[in-house]
Symmetry: C2
Subunit: 209 residues, 2 copies
């Protein structure tokens, strides 16, 4: 049975995967910076739906690359995305990852106000100085709170990565963000997740040479 396994050197596995993804995309093309984001989402999920569902606001990727090269921080609503983002490479650019989900004060405040912890985390994130990137992989309520803060002029994100996953208000919250003026990368529809949020962050970070 082991003979069905093809030996591929560890350092070659990713390149081989990307070749196979490219082949299956069957000639579909995007500008290189967007293509690298789309292919990394497919690589992390084996789900080709991302080729159709990823929305990029005009200039979003080039703006994100410039910000990351200038040391932009990343704020995320999920510990899994925080674990998956390449923090060493981000730190080399001068950035850090922030996730406030484990802060007991956030939990207390969310309970008191009857809102989600993710929504409170966005308020905390809005206080990070500079022009940070918000990477939302879990909670539509985080995107909805970001939308409200944007309207109130209380948050100035450099980019919103809007890829929560699920069934309650997920589709709607993503469309809300697309309709704002904020630069965004959004996985339309129900799909997304922490893995997709981390994959998009990493696809951007790896383009900052």
């Amino acid at each position: 049975m082991l003979e069905e396994i093809e030996f591929v050197k560890p350092e070659d596995i990713e390149a081989r995967s990307m070749e196979l993804i490219e082949k299956e995309l069957d000639g579909r093309t995007w500008p290189e910076p967007e293509a690298l984001v789309i292919k990394r989402c497919i690589h992390t999920s084996a789900d080709f739906d991302y080729a159709d569902q990823l929305y990029f606001s005009p200039g979003a990727v080039s703006r994100a690359l410039k910000l990351l090269k200038d040391g932009a921080h990343i704020i995320t609503d999920t510990k899994m995305a925080a674990a998956g983002i390449n923090k060493k490479r981000l730190a080399a650019l001068g950035g850090q990852v922030h996730c406030f989900m484990d802060d007991p004060e956030v939990a207390r405040e969310a309970k008191e106000r009857g809102i989600t912890r993710s929504a409170v985390c966005m308020e905390r994130g809005s206080q990070i100085p500079g022009t940070p990137i918000f990477a939302i992989g879990n909670a539509p309520t985080a995107l909805i709170r970001l939308y409200e803060l944007l309207r109130e002029g209380k948050v100035h994100p450099g980019l919103i990565i809007g890829v929560p996953v699920g069934f309650v208000n997920v589709v709607e919250s993503k469309e809300l963000i697309i309709r704002t003026d904020a630069a965004c990368i959004v996985a339309r529809g129900r799909k997304g997740g922490s893995n997709i949020a981390a994959a998009i962050c990493n696809a951007l970070i790896y383009q900052c040479k």
Copy 2:
């Protein structure tokens, strides 16, 4: 635009999601312990493919629940899965999560032997006493190394959660594990990931009241 958002209390979001998933499964049924695993995978991915692709070896779930109630540890090949597993609830049962991916010794040994860090992690995991659960969400090479260790009688897993994602040896490595005598839960095909590994662990942990 905000008027399209339906207000759902934070504590009700998961139950509402599960209702919607159930509705869309349109009468398909499984024994309750397996159904809870399948539905949590769909909840975490919005991907109904898991209803078709999840394979349970006979008695795998009931065995896993017994082990977890007895304090079984969980070993995973991915930091994202480690971040996503409910460690507080696991600790209440007496278990811990182990992930060796960040150990510099693992990186050194993997490089020296020309194998993946994930494969070395499985060897480390095989030294954990008791009957642990292996949750593989990233690397097919981890599953392949587990298969070899099983054949050599060098590892005694209580359950293997085999849900790596990707394009190189992923499908084959999962079929290898299914053909062993080990209790397993496997996402057949290319799909899976850290989020699915964590979701399956949590679906099991939450059944241990």
